[in-house]
């Protein structure tokens, strides 16, 4: 009997939870705020679904409800992606070590 592809996706999902668990425990507490903003940015990879929805229209009608929702979702996710990565970058740039020769 063939294994349903769903099972493979489930395997990826479960293993990723474990990876997440160990990776996040190793994040230093002082970087917990950047951790939240970067997880925010990466969870907006949901934009791939939005792009598929947005491009799905036929030539004669690109404004079905499904398309419009896709467009809106693209904008929302893009705010998160740009905003999330940039604000993380901005925060991380502020973390500096003590200057030795002081």
């Amino acid at each position: 009997m063939e294994i349903d592809p769903f099972i493979f996706r489930l395997s990826i999902f479960i293993l990723s939870i474990f990876i997440g668990y160990y990776v996040v425990w190793s994040v230093t507490p002082s970087l917990h705020t950047p951790l939240m903003s970067v997880t925010n940015a990466i969870s907006s990879v949901i934009i791939v679904g939005a792009i598929i929805a947005g491009l799905a229209g036929s030539e004669d009608n690109v404004f079905t409800i499904s398309n419009i929702l896709g467009f809106l979702a693209i904008s929302l996710a893009a705010i998160n992606i740009f905003g999330g990565f940039l604000v993380t970058q901005r925060m991380l740039q502020m973390y500096k070590k003590r200057k030795k020769d002081k």
Binding site: G20, P34, T39, I42, I46, A56, L72, N80, L86, V87
Partner: protein, 464 residues
């Protein structure tokens, strides 16, 4: 682009996202980690465009909306003050939630575009995954909006509770399961709309009873939800990048919630069921009596610190409110010029989100290797000359260690009272969030500095 090839690229971007989080294990590698994250995102988006292939005239709109969103996001990222990070993150979570809902609806209306079957005959598994993605997304959205309003101060931070609240929530949660079942058996869109509406309501009801100082837990929890929503959509779209990311973000938020709950010595359910501040406050105000405290001015504080050889600073949310972090850094610079050793002690739940104080201090150019977590620094208080408490309160209350009757008993606290002397900057003697008196105020070695945190710090610097 073949489906297999794009699947491999999605896997690559998933791995890059793992590396992005891995980079955050130390500030040195963190910037590289962020770069990996950006790279992963670029790959995922590019592959999506290539795999759709035959571009309809919708392409131009896709690009326009992408650009508009990107510009708004970039603008916000550059403008936002660091003290507003909790609001920003809550706001961003709501957007993830809402876009998950939109994508789920879009897939429901046009399943052919996603290879999920035809309208009215969507594959059972996809339908379940869609429902989960949409429901969790909707809960994330409305919950985050409430969290945002509370953090922003538009909505009162005090818990809103009413009779039968928990019963109602339980009922609504059960109805979600029932609606999913009905949707799957009938394929009727109406059940899908009701499902989403009920989920919006749950998110709203879930967050209103939670008080302002529990926000660190709420934000972490919503972070986790936004991940699970993404994973749900990932299953629907059969996209490994989304599944991996969703799982990562979901567990990340869950761990942060756990750390925050631990920092307050409260169970997760205790926080979620809410109403902490409201119930405890009434109990404690009854036996309030006027007790003598020693209060001083900036000159006294400057004198104490000038004669110290080591000072530990304990910042809290009040410092963020008063925007005192830069003034504080200037004071510390002056102290260092006098060869006084200065370190910072940060309680896990200081501020309104995990790591909030660290970011504010970093913004004020405080080197991160002078900032320590509770367990790293707690033994040092006994050897320090002066503890300078600015904007923190409950996290320094020794009652947590001594009085089993106290609502905060068992919460890990900073051993501030072990210092030779304690300087406590505060506007008044009013109790903190937990609604209880801080024993520290009445200790012999405590000097209260009644003033605005920023102004007091500046005055002390002048007197040093």
């Amino acid at each position: 682009m073949s489906a297999n090839l794009s699947a491999i690229f999605y896997l690559v971007s998933g791995v890059l996202f793992i590396l992005a989080l891995r980079g955050l294990s130390s500030p040195e590698t963190s910037r590289q980690g962020n770069f990996f994250g950006i790279l992963g995102m670029v790959i995922a988006i590019t592959v999506t465009f290539l795999s759709v292939g035959n571009f309809s005239s919708g392409l131009i709109y896709v690009l326009i909306f992408l650009l508009v969103g990107g510009l708004i996001g970039a603008f916000i990222a550059y403008k936002i003050p660091m003290t507003a990070m909790p609001e920003l993150v809550a706001g961003f979570h709501s957007l993830v939630g809402l876009s998950a809902v939109f994508v789920a609806i879009s897939a429901f209306l046009n399943p052919e575009a996603f290879n999920l079957g035809a309208p009215g005959a969507i594959k059972l598994a996809s339908l379940i995954e869609m429902s989960i993605g949409a429901a969790v997304g909707a809960i994330t959205f409305s919950g985050s909006i409430i969290a945002f309003l509370k953090l922003q101060g538009i909505m009162s931070g005090s818990p809103i509770t009413f009779k039968g609240q928990h019963f109602l929530n339980a009922l609504l949660l059960i109805s979600i399961i029932v609606l999913t079942y009905l949707l799957c058996s009938s394929q009727s869109p109406n059940f899908f709309w009701v499902l989403i509406a009920v989920s919006f309501l749950i998110g709203f009801l879930l967050i209103i009873p939670i008080g302002g100082a529990d926000m660190p837990v709420v934000i972490s929890m919503l972070n986790s939800y936004s991940g699970w929503a993404a994973a749900g959509i990932g299953f629907t779209l059969e996209n490994s990048a989304l599944i991996i990311t969703g799982a990562l973000v979901g567990s990340s938020g869950a761990i942060l919630s756990y750390i925050m709950c631990k920092g307050m010595n409260r169970s997760f359910f205790n926080v979620i069921l809410g109403g902490f501040g409201a119930t405890e406050q009434s109990a404690s105000t009854g036996n309030k009596e006027q007790r003598p405290v020693k209060s001083g001015n900036a000159e006294d504080a400057a004198f104490l610190m000038k004669n110290a050889s080591s000072v530990i600073i304990v910042p809290g949310y009040g410092m963020a409110v008063a925007q005192a972090q830069h003034a504080l850094r200037e004071m510390v610079d002056t102290l260092k010029k006098n060869d006084i050793k200065v370190t910072y002690a940060i309680h896990p739940v200081a501020g309104r989100m995990p790591g909030h104080m660290n970011v504010l201090l970093a913004e004020a150019n405080v080197p991160y290797d002078e900032v320590f977590e509770l367990e790293e620094i707690n033994n040092d208080f006994a050897n320090a000359d002066v503890a300078f408490v600015i904007g923190a309160n409950d996290v320094t209350n020794p009652v947590a260690k001594t009085d089993p009757q106290s609502p905060i008993y068992g919460m890990p606290v900073l051993d501030v009272e072990k210092c030779k002397s304690v300087l406590f900057v505060k506007r008044s003697l009013s109790p903190g969030y937990a609604g209880i008196d801080n024993e520290l105020f009445y200790k012999d070695n405590t000097l209260m500095l009644f003033a605005d945190a920023k102004k007091m710090t500046e005055d002390i610097t002048k007197n040093l």
